[in-house]
């Protein structure tokens, strides 16, 4: 690539063991991966191959047993909790595979939560932005519903909106369309691609949906803890 867009994320030779004693499993066996701004990546593979485990590492929610992770040019795998937390807040938007929302809070409050921590916007602007984000995932009507009053798919879409709240340069989404019908999964996917193109964000998503995967810029199939 001649005008290769800048690198948002790079990991090299990531190893991760999980479990204790006899149950200890070598889950990631030296995974290397790069994500550039403006690109959408799909990580696909059978259940249990280590996709979520990798995403947690890339999202700085977990620490690797070997290898390194660079976020926007800074090596984060060795940095302390505070630095990793700050990087999560400013650069990474994460959509979990399960349990998406804080259920005692409204959709709007959930989306505002990362903004309030970052505190870059005035409260009124935060609210306006949260409204707009919820609108873009088709939930403009349900901004004041509590998490408990939303369906699984609706919760998932709020979680996507929340991951976008701080305009992170990297969006990590663990099956963001898993619970969605065709129409909504199309909408969420379109939103993510549009962001990648318009704002130069790197989007990495795990998906079991071949159709979605096909529409990504890059597909990385994974098997048994390694990219194949």
């Amino acid at each position: 690539m001649a005008e290769a867009p800048s690198l948002a994320l790079r990991c090299t030779e990531l190893h991760r063991y999980l479990g204790e004693g006899d149950g200890r499993v070598h889950v990631l066996k030296g995974v290397s991966f790069e994500a550039r701004r403006g690109q959408v990546y799909a990580i696909v593979g059978p259940s249990g191959c280590g996709k979520s485990t990798l995403l947690y590492l890339l999202g700085l929610l977990d620490q690797p047993d070997g290898g390194s992770i660079e976020i926007n040019g800074h090596t984060m795998s060795n940095s302390d909790d505070l630095a990793r937390t700050a990087a999560r807040g400013a650069h990474i938007g994460f959509v979990f595979q399960f349990h998406f929302l804080m259920l005692e809070f409204t959709a709007l409050e959930n989306v505002m939560m990362p903004m309030r921590k970052l505190a870059k916007l005035a409260p009124a602007d935060m609210e306006a932005r949260a409204h707009q984000l919820l609108e873009s995932v088709g939930l403009g009507e349900k901004t004041h519903r509590l998490g408990t009053q939303l369906s699984g798919g609706e919760q998932q879409r709020v979680a996507v909106a929340r991951a976008l709240a701080n305009e992170p340069s990297i969006i990590l989404a663990d099956e963001p369309t898993g619970n969605l019908d065709v129409k909504n999964s199309g909408m969420v996917f379109d939103l993510l691609t549009r962001l990648a193109k318009d704002h130069g964000q790197a989007v990495i998503l795990v998906t079991h949906n071949p159709e979605i995967a096909q529409r990504c810029d890059v597909i990385r199939p994974m098997r048994d803890g390694l990219f194949v």
């Binding site: 999980l18 979520s52 485990t53 947690y56 999202g59 929610l61 977990d62 620490q63 909790d81 505070l82 937390t85 700050a86 999560r88 807040g89 400013a90 990474i92 994460f94 979990f96 349990h99 929302l101 804080m102 005692e104 809070f105 939560m113 990362p114 309030r116 921590k117 970052l118 929340r162 701080n166």
Partner: protein, 415 residues
């Protein structure tokens, strides 16, 4: 509203029952603390008022000749030894008039009155009792004591005493034992001497030890009965600031060379009893605040367990460990603040209610209702104790919540 506080509030109100549990423990702890302190201090205060109104704030007794010898251990060192047994006491106050005149110069002194005291036998038509007669100058005595309020029958009863040269004001219990009534005559026996007096008045302090042995007579009578033409046993002093009585006494002792005892020293035994009572009730009641702490611990530990996923979400969004700690400490603070305010109101309310409960006591003092003492310090102490207990107890779950690794939570392996 800070996001941490907002989150704390929602977490807490999502667990209403557990929250109400720790809230009511806090209210109970604070309220009971205040109530017990108000009543124990109330009785202490009442006792102090009684004894100050009876025996005054300072009693000036024996004159001493200050012959303190100061020995230098050896030249070159500043080691000095004072010998206490260098002091020579002369019993009583030889020149009360001069002493009282001097006492006027002490800024804390309101008034001073001479008292001549002696042990006698009292004989009524009914039986004999040992008693103490107190020779007083009635007008001066009224300025250093509450005798005017302690006499039964008020000013009329005092007037009868004033008019009768051989009058006696007899303690209530002593009068009962001798089956005396106003107007009866008694005989004061000392050795083989016999003096006839008339009971003009009866007084009651409520302090058993006083009411069963004491009778007041005119100074001139006492002098003739006790055969003391000059001098008195002690001078009773009333002061403006009772808390400074020990300093004033020390000052008097230093300047006037008479042994001066403040009420705090004189009534040490009783005061220490009250202190121990106050302390032990504070400790007992602190158990309730301890329970409030445990309840808070329990509530928070439960919320931490239920909200681990939310903690992971928050951490994934950039919330720091310290934010998580604060979220849980805020919950404790909310419960504590509400508990403190309600607890203070409950404490004040029950104190007020209890102060109207009838309670008939005599012995170390006489009262018809529960005695309470209103002091902001009780409220401060109650809230402080609860705050310490609750905050310490909350620190553990709060820190535990902050220690979680978000990765462990999302995988479900956090413990």
């Amino acid at each position: 509203m800070s996001p941490n506080f907002h989150i704390a509030y929602r977490f807490l109100t999502a667990k209403k029952r557990a929250m109400l549990m720790s809230l009511s423990c806090t209210v109970l702890g604070v309220g009971l603390f205040i109530l017990t302190q108000a009543t124990t201090s109330g009785f202490e205060e009442f006792f102090i008022k009684t004894i100050l109104g009876t025996d005054g704030a300072i009693r000036i007794e024996d004159k001493f000749q200050d012959t303190l010898r100061v020995m230098s251990a050896s030249a070159g060192t500043d080691f000095e030894v004072s010998q206490r047994d260098g002091v020579k006491y002369i019993e009583g106050v030889e020149e009360p008039k001069a002493l009282i005149k001097e006492l006027k110069n002490f800024s804390n002194v309101i008034a001073a009155a001479p008292v001549l005291r002696g042990s006698v036998q009292i004989r009524s038509s009914f039986k004999n009792e040992t008693a103490q007669i107190f020779g007083i100058e009635i007008d001066e005595q009224l300025r250093v004591s509450d005798l005017g309020k302690q006499v039964i029958g008020g000013s009329g009863a005092l007037a009868r005493f004033r008019e009768n040269e051989a009058g006696a004001i007899v303690g209530r219990v002593l009068a009962d034992r001798l089956q005396l009534e106003v107007g009866n005559s008694i005989q004061v026996v000392i050795g083989s001497e016999l003096t006839r007096l008339r009971v003009t008045t009866i007084f009651e302090t409520g302090v058993q030890d006083i009411d069963k042995v004491r009778l007041y007579v005119h100074m001139s009578q006492a002098r003739s009965i006790l055969k003391k033409p000059t001098g008195v046993s002690f001078v009773q002093v009333s002061v403006f600031d009772r808390d400074r009585a020990p300093q004033t006494a020390a000052h008097i002792q230093w300047v006037l060379h008479h042994h001066a005892v403040a009420w705090q020293v004189r009534e040490k035994t009783w005061l220490e009893t009250f202190y121990a009572l106050k302390l032990s009730s504070a400790i007992t009641v602190s158990i309730f605040t301890l329970i409030a702490g445990l309840a808070m611990f329990n509530t928070l530990a439960m919320i931490v367990l239920e909200k681990t996923k939310d903690i992971a979400i928050l951490r994934s969004m950039g919330y720091e460990r310290s934010d998580i700690t604060r979220i849980f400490l805020w919950q404790a603070v909310i419960v504590l603040l509400v508990g403190a305010v309600v607890g203070c109101l409950v404490g004040a309310g029950t104190t007020y209610a209890v102060s109207h409960l009838p309670l008939h006591l005599t012995g170390i003092f006489k009262t018809d209702t529960f005695q309470v003492y209103w002091s902001p310090w009780h409220y401060l102490a109650a809230v402080t104790t609860a705050a310490i207990m609750v905050m310490i107890a909350s620190l553990f779950p709060a820190r535990r919540a902050a220690r979680f690794e978000p990765g462990d939570i999302v995988r479900g392996t956090a413990q």
